[in-house]
Symmetry: D2
Subunit: 172 residues, 4 copies
């Protein structure tokens, strides 16, 4: 069966150490589940940290790069997809992810959240308050806010209907 692909978005060079630490933990937890981590592929910020976290737990990492070569790619990316299309690749990030997690970022991350919601993807905000901007998606349960990397995993299982075993366990 095809492995779940989890898109992890968030700040690049401007990401704080705390945000990168969260991304690193999340990457490891995603790898622990046997899921594929997909991000923008650069060797900075949330992209680099989440890929490093996944690789240290033997996960598989895919980077959708804006560039025509791997000059700026994170060394923790297994499969660099070179699009050569700049921020136009944000749409590919979203389409290729079964579900999208967004850590704090700026306009690039917000564009990805917007594209994800527009294209019917669930979005999990990890410590990233967005005000009222997408409030209708939040009310509908399409966008969900959580505070810890561990909650991202349980939320993914719930939204992607991967929690049958747990439910069965609970029933027993």
């Amino acid at each position: 069966m095809k492995k779940l692909i989890v898109g992890v978005m968030g700040g690049g060079e401007g990401a704080s150490p705390e945000v990168c630490e969260m991304a690193y933990k999340l990457g490891g937890l995603i790898a622990d589940q046997g899921w594929v981590l997909l991000n923008g592929g650069w060797g900075v910020g949330v992209m680099d940290a989440s890929a490093r976290g996944a690789k240290e737990r033997n996960g598989l990492t895919v980077g959708i790069l804006p560039d025509r070569n791997t000059e700026f790619a994170s060394p923790y990316i297994d499969i660099p997809i070179l699009t050569g299309m700049g921020d136009g690749r944000n749409f590919i990030n979203i389409l290729s992810s079964d579900i999208v997690v967004a850590l704090p970022g700026r306009s690039g991350t917000i564009s990805e959240i917007a594209l994800a919601l527009k294209n019917g993807k669930n979005v999990i905000l990890l410590n990233f308050p967005l005000g009222d901007l997408f409030v209708e998606y939040q009310k509908a349960g399409i966008m969900v806010s959580v505070n810890k990397p561990e909650e991202v995993i349980t939320t993914i299982k719930r939204l992607c209907h991967l929690d049958q075993e747990q439910e069965e366990d609970t029933l027993v």
Copy 2:
């Protein structure tokens, strides 16, 4: 000299009659200046209304369509650019616009505002409150909020440095 290209973004099918009326007026005012109107090219909402406004004043209209054919194109688009790349074309809308005007819309419009700001374009919000989301760009004067189509024109002239004549007139 190359004509200024003004990108007009905003809601599609969900746009209210009031928003469409504003888009229609704005399209006419852009045409009156001899500027080119660029939008997403579909025959609905802000796209259709702004193109119609421009054509009724003999303007030139360019539509960057997500599709591979002109089936959904507005009849008021002179030059339909067929990208065949869905919402990936939002990035082309932004790059190809010398300046971006955003009327009320949802996630698609927000993705375009975010991509515009990320790529160094000025954004004029016409009656489209976004909360604190891009507050740093607003403080820096890169994103500007106005309430009337006429103010869009004067703001474009100011931000694109097309107001020398007026300044000279004032000096005299």
Copy 3:
């Protein structure tokens, strides 16, 4: 009624003076018909020459640029569409053209001919022999070879069914 958009493809920096002269003439003839000229937008080779030819006859020119800015754009391009996606834009050139004319070029031009044929567009080769590569399209009349810019115009009229007047004249 929407104006016909004619895509003109061919060599860039490597194009010979003879090829550029042909492109220049073709651009003028396209403008004389009131058609829109579309090409790759750079200020070299067939792109620059065909746009210059069209502008000197008051035509309208559209350039689908691979870049994020107009640094390399031909000054004869009225509407520079900035895709920021490198050769990925070749597909947009093809989709956006009602019909494609190819002058001698190399791998870039051949990729555009191939994409045009794959996507159901007619291709007119102007002095550009391709051997047997697309022989099935030539046999089917989808791809046509001509030797002079004037023949391009009559072939476009025939393939796009714009030649009713001539036929009527002939009948009289």
Copy 4:
């Protein structure tokens, strides 16, 4: 160290059983080397056969799909990259491949060969005669013709400088 990514291009629905058999064998041989197989991702022709061959030997397969969902994806693709950009994705196939192998195909395959050569990638033609079209690349050793899947592997090793061990063995 990052694994080599080998792009395998060729016919889709129209591919003959012989061509598919070759693609199947090639996929297996690529997997045996520990390389990643990348193709256009659909469940037909060379795409499906090469991915099946790789999966039966425990290889890793990446498909760069033209679509927005996995409806047409081969079940043998591990990582479906959804571009939503139709044939515009051919450029991504090429950029993301360290080296490109082309089996017999039609205009889509030829567009990929042309884009590969234009962007400095080596191309190995497996039983795919192209006439004189790219003869200058063949003379320069950038494009190479072979007849058997096994020769593709040795040619990749030579062109990607992965044959040091063999050379050392030969020296001893």
